[in-house]
């Protein structure tokens, strides 16, 4: 029954189509809604045909964007209609109009269930589709077992089973706690043997969903997926109906390759080989053809293959081949391919080995930044941002700056933020960084957030060499006719602090500086005026001997603003005026700002936040997260313990006084500290005399007034000393506190192959390892977290006798915010539990930091999983009959854990538990292969017998063909079971701040403490 059969509906649609404007349409819709509503009111008179017609009208109206708040019941009632056409309408309209939380849906559950368990397979399909599209918790509770049954039923036809697969997918994804998928790994593997491509397509989606939660259970599906890929790639047994422009179901190919990306790797060598053969064939065999559809379909497969190759950490040769392909793509005319080339190249950046090859395409990528298509420009920007490092930062950032002036408004903010971050992260020298930020402010002031200019002030303050340069640059920008207000702020701040360093240059006398800044004052907002006032006070302070003329000019400004309506401005004017009349004391109070403590760039944090997305975990994202743990400086993570030095003086500190400009507030925080302490009344009726009087007593009473502060800071010092006294000697010598627990990090790395080995406020040492047989390749990533270089870097490996280790040359200096990689080759000569140590030291300023770190080149790294069958296990076990090849020991003091957890622990150590070998369920039997030069590959067997009544003891038997190995392995496993590899926290919380080279930062940053010293 076609719609054309429903005349009334056709008429209505034509009417709508003929409407001249939105108003007419609304009138017509309202009329129809009224009509439908009255017809529904006396429902008894409606035939199913009429009902169906009206329900379609409702859907049509809903699609046009009008609210349809009635008739839901009628739609739902059609679900139980006996005839297919009515039922079908009911199902489709219900799933369009209602959502999973809708009350009426509850009424529908029964009808849906009846259709699912009924005999009519077309009804089953409709019901499964509805549950699969909008089914919520109640659906999952009452339908999941039935749906699971249908999916694996052999009597069910493919057309039902494919819907059951996706229905189950929804029910499971929405309510993983309700739908039980234990034991589904075998069924999933069976489903992948399916010949019907429809069932296979939807089962593959189900598999993706299941493995994205837990890939461990689905290893058995990997070879099946590879088989499917082979079948498709070779076009074997693919029905014509599923061949799209000569390509065997591109969608199934894509989905299968996607599923494989959720497994960390493909271990089995045969499967891996077959997979790479298929991938190689796709990479090499995809040609550009004339037919657009064929071309798109084959490239869809190709791009997915690229992603999979990248995920599998293929040989470097294959990776380079991929980059070469992408390099070709980003230069083609066809915009889709260009877009995807850029997008995939960005993903490829995660593979460290090919980053250099990608860099060769820099010129082409920069061209894409000027592409007429904004989608492509965005991809190019992302790629440039991702590929930027110390070597190419200058070029890339300059390109971004140039592009900024012509970029669309939609992109400017992102662009300027990215340029600022790159300039900060990879500046070859800091003067360049200052240049970039000032240009950025000059070209796109509206898009430069405060964070960006706060940051440049931070850098200049912390780097004395930079100060004259920055001041000079600021001075130059002030000569420009029309400058952005942000530029006024940053120039005024910099000149206030450092213009005295320029004194001898033409145009830089205090008077000239004051005049040129003061010119801007009439055009700027209140928050900027506050900064200007501070600048004037600083200029006065730096002008020695005092210039009477300038003094009276500035005093005039101060007295003008003493009656300003803005409290912040008023307070500044009053205070500066009074202070500046104090003469020499001004020097101390308005002294230069102290250095800022090192901390994470708020910009990078901002960029990270804006990228945060709540979408479900995807393979790529998981990978990216993994990557993050290796990438060190690149992400510049906040110290994990989160503790920042107390009372830290920062540019972005919350303002105490008002919401006026924060950094400006801090400039005067020395002075403010004093005045606000002593003066109980806000200077609402300011008079210089009164303040003069107030300041008088201040000088006398100061010490008592400030006494608490000095006591406080004294106490703090005391606490520091105490804490250090009980700290281990090693750490005391360093006086640099590590971030995070070193032991905990070491233990974590014993079980995984990448992560952070050590971190302190200055450096982060990351590690990434690959182990194979008796060899290993470890890469140490030394990342300088701060903005000055780390010198005298030394790394010495102290290997135990059983390991041969070679560390490549470690550079003596790590440039600011740079990361160096140092490969370390490891060879295992014989079994031993001894641990290698890395003796690492560097200098920060004059301070030597030395740490000794255990390296996770531990015994279990030379184990490779092997699972043995009962037929293999028992003869071996028996042939190794007793000591010294087979050792038994009762272990006491075992950390109590459930058996499953113990099995996990074994598995994570590559001792693969073989379930079912031991008839006693309280026993665990595990096997593994140990590799060393002396033993070669050697099978090891382990059996632990636990006592369910007492989990703290167990009997362990270890057997292998080498006596030393048996002994060492037994002791090793024992250590794992007895030792508790959880963090051992130091007894007293250590102060987390850094011991400074000069006075402690707590004292610097605490205005009270400063004053105490001063008075």
């Amino acid at each position: 029954m076609a719609l054309s059969g429903m005349r009334g509906l056709s008429v209505f649609i034509s009417d709508i189509r003929n409407c001249q404007n939105k108003e007419q349409e609304r009138l017509r819709v309202d009329k129809e809604l009224g009509n439908v509503r009255t017809r529904f009111k006396n429902e008894k008179g409606l035939t199913p045909y009429e009902k169906k017609k009206y329900v379609w009208k409702m859907l049509y109206i809903y699609m046009l964007g009008y609210d349809v708040d009635f008739g839901h019941m009628e739609a739902v009632s059609l679900l139980s209609a006996p005839k297919y056409p009515e039922k079908q309408v009911g199902y489709i309209v219900t799933s369009c109009l209602l959502n999973e939380n809708h009350d009426f849906l509850r009424i529908a559950i029964n009808a849906v269930r009846n259709d699912i368990i009924g005999r009519n397979e077309t009804f089953q399909c409709l019901a499964l589709t509805l549950a699969g599209n909008i089914g919520g918790r109640e659906f999952a509770e009452s339908l999941a077992p039935d749906v699971q049954k249908l999916l694996i039923s052999s009597s069910c036809r493919p057309l039902v089973r494919k819907k059951a697969a996706l229905c189950l997918l929804r029910l499971y994804r929405k309510n993983p706690d309700v739908v039980n998928v234990d034991g589904w790994s075998d069924r999933m593997a069976q489903l992948l043997d399916e010949r019907d491509m429809g069932v296979l397509t939807s089962s593959m989606s189900l598999l993706v969903s299941l493995v994205s939660n837990n890939h461990e259970a689905y290893w058995s599906c990997v070879p099946k997926c590879v088989k499917i890929l082979e079948r498709l790639a070779r076009n074997q047994d693919v029905p014509q109906e599923y061949t799209y422009y000569g390509i065997p179901s591109p969608w199934l190919q894509v989905k299968t390759m996607r599923a494989l990306q959720y497994f960390p790797t493909v271990e089995d060598p045969n499967t891996r080989r077959s997979l790479f053969e298929v991938l190689q064939r796709i990479l090499m065999g995809t040609d550009v053809v004339k037919n657009v559809n064929k071309n798109n379909a084959s490239h869809a497969v190709l791009f997915e293959a690229l992603a999979l190759v990248m995920h599998l950490d293929a040989e470097k040769e294959m990776m380079s081949q991929c980059v070469a392909l992408l390099g070709k793509f980003i230069a083609v005319r066809e915009p889709n391919i260009r877009y995807l080339g850029l997008e995939n190249m960005t993903r490829m950046l995660m593979v460290a080995e090919v980053q250099d090859i990608i860099k060769r395409h820099q010129a082409q990528i920069i061209t894409s930044l000027k592409d007429p298509d904004i989608s492509i420009r965005r991809r190019a920007l992302d790629l440039l941002y991702g590929m930027c490092d110390v070597s190419n930062a200058k070029d890339i950032v300059e390109e971004l700056l140039q592009y900024l002036t012509t970029a669309d408004f939609a992109m400017r903010e992102e662009l300027s933020l990215k340029a600022a971050i790159l300039a900060e992260k990879f500046a070859p020298d800091l003067s360049w960084y200052v240049d970039v930020i000032l240009q950025l402010i000059d070209k796109a002031g509206d898009f430069v957030s405060d964070d960006i200019w706060f940051r440049v002030v931070h850098f200049v303050t912390n780097n004395e060499d930079l100060q004259p340069y920055a001041a000079l640059k600021a001075r130059e920008y002030l000569d420009k006719p029309a400058i952005h207000e942000t530029m006024v702020k940053v120039s005024a701040y910099l000149l206030g602090e450092y213009s005295h360093l320029l004194a001898r240059r033409p145009g830089c006398s205090p008077k000239e500086i004051f005049n040129i800044i003061h010119e801007k004052l009439p055009t700027v907002s209140i928050s900027t005026i506050a900064i200007l006032l501070s600048t004037y006070a600083k200029i006065l302070m730096h002008t020695q001997p005092p210039d009477r003329d300038l003094q009276s000019q500035i005093w005039a400004v101060f007295s003008k603003y003493e009656s300003c309506i803005d409290a912040e401005i008023q307070q500044r004017a009053v205070e500066y005026h009074a202070l500046s009349m104090k003469g020499a004391a001004l020097m101390d109070i308005l002294a230069e700002m102290p250095k800022f403590p090192e901390r994470q760039s708020p910009l990078i944090k901002k960029a990270e936040d804006s990228e945060a997305d709540t979408a479900e975990q995807s393979a790529i994202k998981l990978r990216a997260q993994q990557q993050n743990s290796n990438a060190l400086v690149v992400t510049d993570q906040r110290p994990t313990n989160g503790a920042q030095p107390a009372g830290q003086l920062g540019l972005v500190k919350v303002p105490i006084l008002s919401n006026a400009d924060q950094s400006a507030a801090e400039i005067v925080s020395h002075a403010n500290g004093a005045l606000t302490v002593v003066d109980p009344q806000p200077p609402s009726t300011p008079s210089p005399d009164l303040l003069g009087d107030l300041l008088g007593p201040l000088a006398i009473e100061g010490p008592t007034g400030a006494a608490p502060a000095s006591v406080a800071s004294g106490l703090e010092g005391g606490v520091d000393a105490d804490a250090l006294a009980i700290a281990p000697i090693e750490e005391q010598a360093n006086a640099v506190q590590p971030i995070g627990d070193i032991a905990e990090r070491f233990h974590a790395l014993c079980l995984k192959d990448s992560g952070v080995l050590y971190e302190d406020p200055y450096i982060q040492i990351g590690l990434k390892a690959e182990w194979g047989g008796h060899r290993g390749r470890v890469v140490l990533f030394l990342g300088n977290k701060i903005t000055s270089p780390l010198n005298s870097v030394q790394a010495l490996i102290l290997p135990p006798s059983h390991l041969k280790m070679e560390l490549s040359l470690v550079p003596e200096t790590i440039p600011p915010r740079a990361q160096v990689q140092c490969p370390l080759e490891v060879m295992n000569l014989q079994p031993s539990r001894d641990i290698a140590v890395l003796d690492f030291s560097y200098k920060f300023g004059t301070q030597l930091v030395n740490v000794k770190l255990r390296l996770p080149a531990v015994l279990n790294k030379f184990l490779q999983p092997i699972s043995v069958s009962a037929e293999e296990f028992f003869p071996q076990w028996r042939s190794l009959s007793g000591p010294p090849l087979k050792l038994q020991e009762v272990v006491r003091g075992v950390r109590p854990m459930p058996l499953a957890e113990m099995a996990n622990l074994f598995n994570s150590l590559n001792l693969i538990v073989c379930p079912g070998l031991d008839p006693n369920p309280n026993n665990l039997v595990a096997s593994t292969t140990f590799y060393s030069e002396s033993t070669r590959a050697m099978l090891c067997l382990i059996r632990t017998e636990t006592d369910p009544a007492d989990r703290t003891q167990l009997r362990m038997t270890v057997a292998s063909g080498d006596p030393t190995l048996t002994y060492e392995l037994k002791e090793f496993v024992k250590e794992q079971l007895v030792n508790i590899p959880v963090p051992s926290r130091p007894p007293l919380a250590m102060p987390s701040h850094i011991q400074p080279t000069s006075p402690p930062p707590s004292a610097i940053s605490d205005p009270g403490a400063l004053l105490a010293g001063l008075l």
Binding site: M1, A2, L3, S4, I13, W56, L59, Y60, M63, L64, G65, D67, K83, Y84, P85, Q88, V89, I92, C96, E100, T122, T129, N133, I134, L159, K162, K163, L166, C167, M197, G198, T201, S202, S205, P239, E241, Y242, Y244, S249, W251, V254, N293, N296, A297, H299, A300, F303, E304, P335, N336, R338, Y339, L340, P372, D373, S375, A615, A619, I620, K621
Partner: protein
């Protein structure tokens, strides 16, 4: 999730079919349709078929006066979706013979049935045209 929605919109920006796989209320739908239709319709044929919008992507394709817009997650394979649109069009073509905007307008239910056979819960279920069309044929036989 994969596919978040399938929209068919004509050159004037009128919606001809809308199917969402994640629930959005009317207000959100109206806003979304307005924004992406404006974005996509403004593009020319020398530009690529992908538009980034908020935290997802729209893959679109134009057939005469009608635009097909499919919203997908960022990780979805764009070209596969682009060809999926074409498969949908070919399927409708097989059924209607030279499908045009009016066919979809006046046979909205059939367009929905086909789409329902092809996509479920944001995942592709079926790509064989005869399998997709068989329930419709069944229905026509029944009437």
């Amino acid at each position: 999730m994969g596919i978040r929605f399938v929209l068919m919109v004509n050159k004037q920006g009128q919606t001809r079919l809308a199917q969402y796989y994640e629930y959005l209320n009317l207000e959100e739908r109206r806003a979304l349709e307005g924004e992406i239709v404006r974005k996509c319709l403004a593009r020319n044929e020398h530009q690529c078929s992908f538009v980034e919008h908020r935290n997802y992507k729209v893959v679109y394709r134009r057939y005469a006066s009608l635009f097909f817009l499919v919203g997908v997650d960022n990780e979805e394979n764009e070209l596969a979706i682009l060809e999926f649109i074409h498969l949908l069009v070919e399927t409708m073509d097989r059924h209607f013979g030279n499908v045009c905007e009016l066919d979809i307008m006046f046979h909205l239910e059939k367009a929905h049935f086909m789409l329902e056979e092809m996509v479920m819960n944001g995942c592709i279920v079926e790509t064989s045209k005869s399998s997709i069309l068989s329930p419709i044929q069944l229905m026509e036989k029944a009437s």
